[in-house]
């Protein structure tokens, strides 16, 4: 699992699938992360392998995905497969427009937390701080 981050700054890699243009939620969340002292790296990706590579290079503590067009099951499953192959253990969280009925499937495949509509940025900040304790 992750390193002892109690004395260090947490680093989150926020990733948007390049063909999903909805980034309003992401902007707010990233702003809240930065205000809470969390380091944020933001990328777009079209291939999960690119994302895994950046996660490795950046040594991210958490990977945050966004999905608002219905591609959440696809990107989550393809990304988790690549992360597994590369033995990258950073927990993956996902936010956006995600129907409640898909949440169990996302958690089953290994997504650590789903932030659907109605979640506040504070919820994600608390979740990340919870990981570092």
């Amino acid at each position: 699992m992750g390193k002892d981050r109690r004395k260090e700054k947490m680093k989150v890699l926020m990733a948007r699938f390049s063909l999903d243009g909805h980034d309003r939620g992401l902007l707010s969340i990233m702003s809240s992360f930065r205000d809470a002292g969390i380091e944020v790296v933001y990328i777009y990706f079209s291939d999960p392998k690119e994302l895994a590579k950046v996660a490795e290079e950046e040594d991210a503590d958490v990977i945050g995905l966004t999905s608002s067009m219905g591609q959440h099951l696809y990107i989550a499953s393809t990304l988790l497969k690549v992360l597994n192959e590369r033995r990258i253990n950073a927990p993956v969280i996902i936010g956006g427009v995600i129907p409640t009925r898909d949440v169990p499937e996302l958690l089953d495949m290994g997504i650590k937390k789903v932030f659907g509509p109605g979640s506040a940025p504070r919820d994600a900040v608390d979740f990340i701080y919870g990981l570092s304790i």
């Binding site: 390049s18 309003r24 707010s28 777009y44 591609q71 427009v97 129907p99 509509p117």
Partner: protein
């Protein structure tokens, strides 16, 4: 508007009113006197009087500057168009949804069918469905189109000259229009018979969605190219949708939306002139997609101010004489960002208020959101209800019987003037920074959008802004309204398979040669003054059965841009 005597009397009466507020409410009842402001930050009084509108000029509908409406008669003569943006999956599925919507009441002017379709992101950006870049996204949020066959599937049941075909496409408007012209040609129609519109808003789509797009300079040239081609060849085509909607969805204020869109219009009119067109040749064919949010009166004021400002700019700045150049036709898309996924039926109330504001503001056309659109694509029941809101306002309330029913309201006339004043400040600021396209390039507009959307969230989180069901009046949510979804992997496989057959059934030398000619034309088209040389090459490419993605790839190979990852 009022005699000095009347104003003196009003002022006396207002003194009594102020006295009562001060003595009864403030002193006795400890009224806290909150300062309200409009969504755009305009400070509001508790009541308005003739004093606030004493300087306004009397106006009538159908006369310059058209604040009260473009035509002498409004909805008495022609109800608004009920157009719903729709589309998902394959052409067959979208065609069935179109039929359903038309059956329930979607229509253009008169009895003209309207097909206002959304495309998926691979189509927006110009990635064919078999491209690795399109994986997982084919058919989501819109129909996929890459070939003439796909257009046929969508439109085969319609008589094209009598159908309003409006594609809601971001960056591939030119290749799509070339394909549509060739498709219509195959059905025996000349371009001048066609009727509909292009989005032609590459710049604003790139700003608000950050999707892979050509460079801003190339976006500007591509937009001017489409204006020139359609103006000279498809007279009835609305070449450019001046879309403020996408800015509103980033929580830009109503006055900012108006100011930004006008700054864009100025850039495009100047570009059209450089391309050799006279303003009266192409200004009448600008269309619009205005964002309509929850600040009821300010939104009505915005619609009225919009017409007035447009008329003044086109007449005074660009010397337009044709009344059609001065009459801004408004299509509204009610604010998706105002919807909540919590207690989704509340969204019917929101949409109803927005439709009412549109009708009081005298719009020509409307897309009304469905109550389940914060959850996913709308279900049939939800879109039908959205249409019914329009039909109830139209047939049951009597509201459309009188044109500009709010005209002369002290408050609304005051607010219309204020919105005009504030929007003009935004427009002038953008112009002072080099104009709309320059402010895309230098990042100023994007920064403004990001700031506004973060501000909205902070206001919701702090409780300063109340959104019913989201941060107040919450309930324990069960997912009672199911999300409408499609089985995407199956659709993607089917569409990719079709494309494979299309590619196998064409002359590859012709394809290759015509794409080289597109690249050559794009490379020669280095200045808007040369507009008109790219579209013929694209039409040839469409005749050679090139796909949407291949044509876009040829354009972007020359123009640069299109960032996939950062």
């Amino acid at each position: 508007m009022f005699s000095r005597k009347t104003l003196d009397r009003v002022n006396e009466m207002m003194k009594d009113w102020e006295k009562e507020v001060e003595e009864v409410y403030v002193k006795k009842l400890k009224f806290g006197s909150p300062q309200y402001t409009s969504e755009s930050g305009i400070p509001l009084n508790y009541v308005y009087s003739p004093e606030d509108v004493k300087d306004i000029e009397p106006e009538i509908p159908g006369a310059f500057p058209y604040t009260r409406g473009n035509r002498a008669l409004g909805y008495q003569y022609m109800p608004w168009m009920i157009q719903l943006l729709h589309g998902y999956g394959t052409g067959e599925e979208t065609r069935e949804r179109t039929k359903y919507l038309i059956r329930e009441g979607m229509k253009g002017y008169g009895e003209t069918p309207a097909v206002l379709f959304a495309v998926d992101t691979p189509t927006h950006c110009g990635f064919d469905p078999d491209s690795p870049k399109a994986r997982g996204m084919v058919g989501l949020g819109g129909v996929n189109i890459s070939t003439l066959d796909d257009i046929h599937t969508l439109l085969k049941d319609y008589d094209l000259p009598n159908t309003r075909v409006a594609d809601n496409i971001r960056f591939t408007c030119l290749p799509f229009l070339a394909m549509y012209v060739v498709y219509a040609e195959g059905r025996g129609h000349r371009p001048e018979e066609l009727n509909g519109q292009s989005q032609n808003g590459l710049g604003n789509r790139c700003l608000t969605t950050n999707l892979p797009a050509p460079t801003p300079d190339a976006q500007y040239r591509l937009e001017i190219e489409l204006i020139k081609y359609s103006c000279q060849n498809i007279k009835r085509w609305n070449h450019t949708n001046l879309c403020g909607y996408v800015f509103g969805e980033m929580n830009i204020t109503p006055t900012q939306e108006l100011g930004i869109v006008l700054s864009k219009a100025v850039d495009l009119v100047e570009g059209g002139i450089k391309a050799g067109l006279k303003p009266d040749e192409f200004v009448p064919r600008f269309s619009s997609q205005v964002h309509l949010g929850m600040d009821f009166f300010e939104e009505i004021a915005k619609l009225r101010a919009w017409r007035r400002m447009w008329a003044k700019i086109m007449k005074e700045r660009f010397g337009c004489n044709d009344p059609r150049s001065l009459q801004y036709r408004i299509h509204v898309h009610t604010a998706g960002s105002s919807l909540t996924s919590q207690q989704p039926l509340n969204n019917i109330a929101r949409a109803t208020l927005q439709v009412l504001a549109c009708v009081l503001g005298g719009v020509q056309s409307m897309h009304t959101n469905s109550y389940d659109e914060a959850i996913g694509l709308p279900s049939e029941e939800a879109v039908r209800t959205a249409i019914r809101i329009n039909q109830i306002v139209l047939h049951e309330t009597g509201i459309p019987h009188v044109t500009d029913p709010m005209g002369g309201s002290y408050y609304l006339e005051f607010l219309t003037n204020k919105v005009e004043e504030e929007a003009e400040k935004v427009r002038a600021e953008i112009e002072s920074k080099g104009g709309y396209f320059e402010c895309i390039k230098n990042g100023w507009l994007r920064q403004l959008l990001e700031k506004q959307s973060i501000k909205w969230r902070q206001e919701v989180d702090s409780g300063e802004r109340i959104v019913v069901g989201l941060n107040k009046f919450k309930i324990e949510e069960k997912e009672e309204v199911p999300a409408f979804t499609i089985y995407q992997p199956e659709i993607e496989a089917e569409i990719t398979d079709r494309l494979k057959r299309w590619r196998a059934n064409r002359n590859n030398t012709e394809v290759k040669d015509s794409l080289e000619r597109v690249k050559g034309a794009m490379s020669d088209y280095d200045n808007v003054e040369k507009a008109g040389i790219l579209m013929p090459a694209l039409i040839d490419a469409a005749r050679a059965k090139c796909t949407l993605g291949e044509m876009m790839e040829a354009i972007v190979e020359v123009s640069g841009g299109r960032i996939y990852s950062t």
